[in-house]
Symmetry: C2
Subunit: 358 residues, 2 copies
Amino acid sequence: MTLFTLDALAHPIVQAPMGGGPSTPALAAAVSGVGGLGFLAAGYKAREAVRADLAELRSRLPDGVPFGVNVFAPPGHGTDAEHVAAYAETLSREASDSGVGLGPPGWDDDRYAQKLDLLCQEHVPVASFTFGCPSREDVERLHRAGVAVWVTVTTPEEAGAASAAGADALVVQGVEAGGHRGGFDDGAPGDVGLLALLQLVRASVGDALPLVATGGVVTGRAVAAVLAASAAAAQLGTAFMRCPEAATARAHRDALAGGEAPTALTRAFTGRTARGIVNRFLREHSADAPSAYPEVHHLTAPIRTAARQRGDADGFHLWAGQAYQLAEAMPAAELVDQLAHEARAALAAATQRLHRPA
Amino acid sequence: MTLFTLDALAHPIVQAPMGGGPSTPALAAAVSGVGGLGFLAAGYKAREAVRADLAELRSRLPDGVPFGVNVFAPPGHGTDAEHVAAYAETLSREASDSGVGLGPPGWDDDRYAQKLDLLCQEHVPVASFTFGCPSREDVERLHRAGVAVWVTVTTPEEAGAASAAGADALVVQGVEAGGHRGGFDDGAPGDVGLLALLQLVRASVGDALPLVATGGVVTGRAVAAVLAASAAAAQLGTAFMRCPEAATARAHRDALAGGEAPTALTRAFTGRTARGIVNRFLREHSADAPSAYPEVHHLTAPIRTAARQRGDADGFHLWAGQAYQLAEAMPAAELVDQLAHEARAALAAATQRLHRPA
């Protein structure tokens, strides 16, 4: 079975999977439909919900048009329950103010094995992994089912491990990226800027392995920049969050459009390092939050759901990359076309500059 | 008098000023001589020493070949002497182990007014500013003397202020950069990755103002990337530190070539946030160091000088950007040629990718 490769795309533009809401089959279909690569986010979802998303996406696309599905690799078991309990203590006022209880801070692996089975059964074109690297055996099994395997990395060391496991491409995530740091170890969540990281990873894995660059890429100029830095494609998340096809919460959309507050890295919402727009919850709880994913994710879920429902942008995670202010509200297909057009113009201008006689 | 503009360069490659050692007239001459833009670092130096550097640089270049000089804008007076004294206490063992005393933690403005006078008298082609923005009056005075003014910025807000003051170009410094954060306020030293920052600054100041991109740019691919992201030139520091023309200390050179340790931001050495390779001094003192520049710079100077002299890479500041492992030991003129060649190839490959029919 032939695996998907990035040069099959008309536009080297990937829509990042955005778990917990924004990613929808409609968004992925719009991006894949116009020659980019759309993604579903399987994280936090039950297998049957992912299966339903897949059915809907396929119903919206002609046969053979590629897309991807992202899954969370199982987190480690390293968390001290006392630290989680202490953090829960600091959140009790937050919960009572919202009229909800805290969630049960259990550990789970987000049904990893079930989701691997599903990806194989469904022969999805691309499976991307966050929070860890699939085993060499799992990669081979996916390959036998016709599934190309991408692994998210935030350091040259992770890139080496993913390459050794047989990954077909690496999603190279710079520190600018919104949402969770996608690397393997929340104790060392990777703090390297995208352009520096692309150079380091390329030097580390050699010229053959395709890199997908992500983190703060919002404009066509930045798409052009990462291609020049040897990426095979750019992956954009925040840039798609204001599209009508995304299921981004209204208060989150408004915060992106407002564009005043900076972003910061925090474990306050989920127990795993992630970048969001600075709001009250982030300011008040970041210092206390332990590295404990998914326990803290479950602990805070009722508070965050309540805040989202009442439209309180100070009470839930406003995931956003460092250039979020430049995200535009427009249909996803138009956005992909605009990005590709801007990227071509940016490369033409840069080429002219480099070849100008002095 | 006509001011220097970046399109006068054969290669859009700027050698970053590296104060405290590495920058030399020989390095600047090598870069400017081959069609890039070399820089002298006036920071920490007496006026007569800068004048001597200028004379040597000019003696090495044909008339009319452009170069730049960097100066430190005066730091604020915000520091509590008690915090400096408390930090000095934690360093006393460090000093006695080195057989030196601590330096006197005084405040000074690095002879800012004298240096502005000198730049005007000498009609230097470009003056760049770090740690703050010159006043509108100073910018006009420099312009009357034929000096183009560049200002280092780390946020869109600083970019707006520098543009309003009349800057001719902005040095846009991403969080990847080695050495000091060059922005205006050490209390908020700018944490945005270069590619995200270029997009934000470009959107903030409009398309007319030239941007010089710096931070983690070490390869020709990264030079191409920042040009695609609308920079008029790339500025590289760490990339030049292993050149024979640089006066980089031997132990620092060896640390750059070793390439194992990560970098981190710290105030431990100078009281102002800067990025260096993680070593013992950085690990042991970062948590205690106050924001107090130049007091802490003077306080630790004897310890750092002693460590450098005995070749102890664990005892002084090993400034380096996040992609320092890719810096090569080669003559600066060859490096500029190689970077330009690689950048052209990178843009050609990226252009081919974007125009490929699917």
